[in-house]
């Protein structure tokens, strides 16, 4: 592993961690969170019913912000004493957050794997087709890709209900209860749009590769068309896909948020949505929990690509 790579990654890691800390506590900069939370607690505990006399404005409270930053750091290193505020009480954060987190992450990881696989298969199937047919398919996928995630996921939910009404075949409990967490359908729905995204991106890089000189050379040498596609173009296109994997990940996260809300799943996104606004420390912690594994993944992908290209250059 080269030294500069390690230094670069470490700097990136520290800066992003700092960024999460700064963003997570941002509400304390703009609102009088402390007094507001006290009032909220009084309302929730029924000590206060008339709120008409209360008035507040947007503030710029640097002192409270810095104070909250320090408090958040303490909170993060507090081990298992963590709590969150919900409806007038402080509840222990674990294992609630952990359950939500592992549910979301298992869906997210599985659907990322599925969508990378589906994207690759679809792209190769398309690349075999003649160029004119490809243009039609691209047009179709342009429309699908333009649809917002909320629309696609909502339609998927209605589709499940419709199939159930028609055939009595319940593909998936449309709203998850306790204990019966569905597996296949959420993963399927969550991987729909990322697949299209990956497909679009891969197709572009494949077509870019197609015009490269080395493909011409390989064709000239009489190498089989499929072998050029699978062996040579595939590798190079994958490198450029994984260079953009961050975008895919973010896109999948946004989809996850919509999925959890529409299908009423108790995942980490829903947890942040429900309790995040009054528990900024909890938000910061959850963001770290998403950031850490993702960062490790991205960095290792980057490292592999770097090593791979270095070897290619060396071999030449």
């Amino acid at each position: 592993m080269s030294k500069s790579f390690v230094r670069r990654s470490a700097a990136q890691f520290l800066l992003t961690s700092l960024g999460i800390l700064l963003i997570g506590s941002l509400p304390y900069l703009f609102f009088n969170m402390k007094s507001q939370l006290e009032i909220l607690e009084m309302i929730d505990q029924k000590n206060l019913s008339n709120t008409l006399f209360l008035y507040d404005t947007i503030v710029f409270n640097v002192n409270a912000y810095v104070h909250q930053l320090i408090h958040t750091i303490e909170y993060l290193f507090n081990g298992n004493m963590l709590e969150y505020y919900a409806r007038g009480r402080n509840l222990p954060l674990f294992p609630t957050l952990w359950d939500a987190y592992s549910l979301s992450m298992s869906y997210l990881v599985a659907s990322l794997i599925v969508s990378v696989g589906a994207g690759i298969i679809l792209t190769i199937m398309t690349m075999v087709l003649p160029k004119q047919t490809r243009a039609y398919i691209k047009g179709l996928f342009f429309i699908v890709e333009s649809l917002p995630d909320i629309f696609v996921i909502l339609l998927a939910q209605l589709g499940v209900i419709w199939i159930y009404k028609q055939t009595d075949l319940l593909l998936f409990n449309v709203t998850s209860g306790f204990n019966d967490q569905a597996i296949f359908l959420p993963i399927f729905i969550l991987s729909l749009l990322p697949s299209v995204y990956i497909y679009k991106y891969l197709l572009l890089s494949f077509e870019e590769e197609e015009n490269q000189l080395y493909v011409e050379l390989a064709k000239g040498k009489g190498i089989n068309r499929y072998r050029i596609l699978m062996d040579h173009m595939f590798r190079n296109a994958m490198v450029s896909l994984f260079n953009h994997f961050k975008g895919v990940f973010l896109f999948a996260l946004a989809n996850l948020l919509m999925l959890e809300l529409i299908f009423e799943m108790n995942g980490v996104m829903k947890f942040i949505y429900k309790y995040g606004a009054v528990n900024t420390e909890m938000v910061t912690l959850s963001l770290y929990m998403i950031f850490l594994p993702a960062f490790v993944l991205f960095t290792s992908i980057e490292w592999f690509i770097e090593r791979w290209t270095a070897r290619q250059v060396g071999a030449r």
Binding site: Q12, D149, L253
Partner: protein, 342 residues
């Protein structure tokens, strides 16, 4: 008309005319639209009641109706001007401020710039909607009692504008960097141009077309965030939370949010509790969002592939060169896409 004129560009024209039609009819409707008192019941020829509101999609109600029997088509048309208007306004301010901030970043020493880009990287680890929500929610939902109406409208707009500035400014700074590496900039420097003059006369003109494209893309992005926020129960343009019901045993209150303007995100939020029983009540505003975003994307597609369309016209007259031209098209397409990641 010039051959590469945007007016001859089918996707562009389709997208623009859809949005214009929507906006114009929205204004005309609220100016001249007949205020029909909605009927909660639907009768057949003999005067028998056949259906109770909300009505399912039919010929009379193409997108169904709401709880009072108002047709969703008219509701959506009325709300279009607020939703699309706000999206355009937010996107406009996003571009203006990102442009200024991007220039500021461009003039900054590269070490500071790297620090900033590292910090901005945070935005890649959670959806923008969540960040926006966490900053808006205290004003419009959690502590809604203490902020007045104007704060509830202006502050969300500021957050929506501000949240995307880091990423957009970095993109603009990158573009400026790329342009400033060109040879003619060196010549301009040798001839004595420096600093702001160089920016105004030589860098900015190359940036403007890209900014236009970015602006249109941002309108689409803002629309998507509006739709998401609707699902998160935030109404853009003011949320009005009313207590509907109090549970006597637990003392928990059931609150419901209302929107008076028929703004689309508000319609999603308002109707989401009915999504299971009357799916069209949520599907109608979501479809409106989907169609507008599709229109925006086809405008983007039209602008991005401007030259391609010109070449296609050439292609029909000179089929012999078709292959080479097509290759250029794919290269163009690819490079424009890879520069837009982020």
């Amino acid at each position: 008309m010039r051959k590469d004129s945007l007016l001859r560009n089918v996707p562009f024209v389709l997208g623009v005319s859809f949005l214009l039609l929507l906006l114009i009819s929205s204004y005309l409707y609220s100016l001249y639209g007949a205020q029909v008192q909605p009927d909660k019941m639907l009768y057949d020829k003999n005067g028998n009641v056949v259906a109770l509101a909300p009505f399912a999609p039919s010929l009379e109600f193409p997108l169904g109706s709401d709880l009072d029997g108002n047709s969703f088509v008219f509701k959506l048309i009325e709300g279009a001007k607020y939703t699309i208007g706000l999206a355009i306004a937010v996107a406009f301010f996003r571009i203006i401020f990102s442009f200024l901030f991007g220039y500021f970043l461009f003039r900054l020493p590269s070490s500071l710039r790297n620090v900033f880009s590292g910090l901005a990287n945070t935005l890649h680890y959670a959806p923008v909607t969540i960040f926006t929500y966490l900053l808006i929610a205290p004003v419009v939902l959690n502590f809604s009692w203490s902020y007045d109406v104007s704060t509830k409208i202006i502050f969300p707009m500021l957050v929506l504008t501000g949240i995307s500035i880091p990423v957009l400014a970095l993109y603009i700074q990158n573009e400026l960097e790329a342009i400033s590496k060109k040879e003619y900039i060196d010549s301009a420097k040798i001839l004595g141009g420096s600093g702001f003059y160089l920016f105004r006369k030589h860098l900015a003109p190359f940036l403007y077309p890209k900014l236009w494209l970015l602006f249109v893309q941002q309108v689409g992005q803002v629309l998507i965030i509006f739709a998401h926020l609707g699902l998160l129960n935030v109404f853009i343009g003011g949320t009005d939370v009313r207590v509907m019901d109090v549970d006597m045993k637990t003392g928990e209150t059931t609150t419901q949010s209302f929107s008076m303007t028929n703004e689309w995100a508000g319609l999603i939020a308002q109707n989401f509790p009915y999504a299971q029983s009357f799916p069209w009540m949520v599907l109608a505003p979501v479809t409106a969002f989907a169609l507008s975003i599709l229109a925006i994307n086809s405008i983007v597609y039209g602008i991005e592939n401007r030259k391609t369309f010109k070449k296609r016209a050439v292609k029909t007259s000179m089929p012999a060169k078709a292959v080479i031209l097509e290759q250029e098209h794919f290269k163009l397409n690819g490079s424009s896409h890879s520069s837009n990641q982020g």
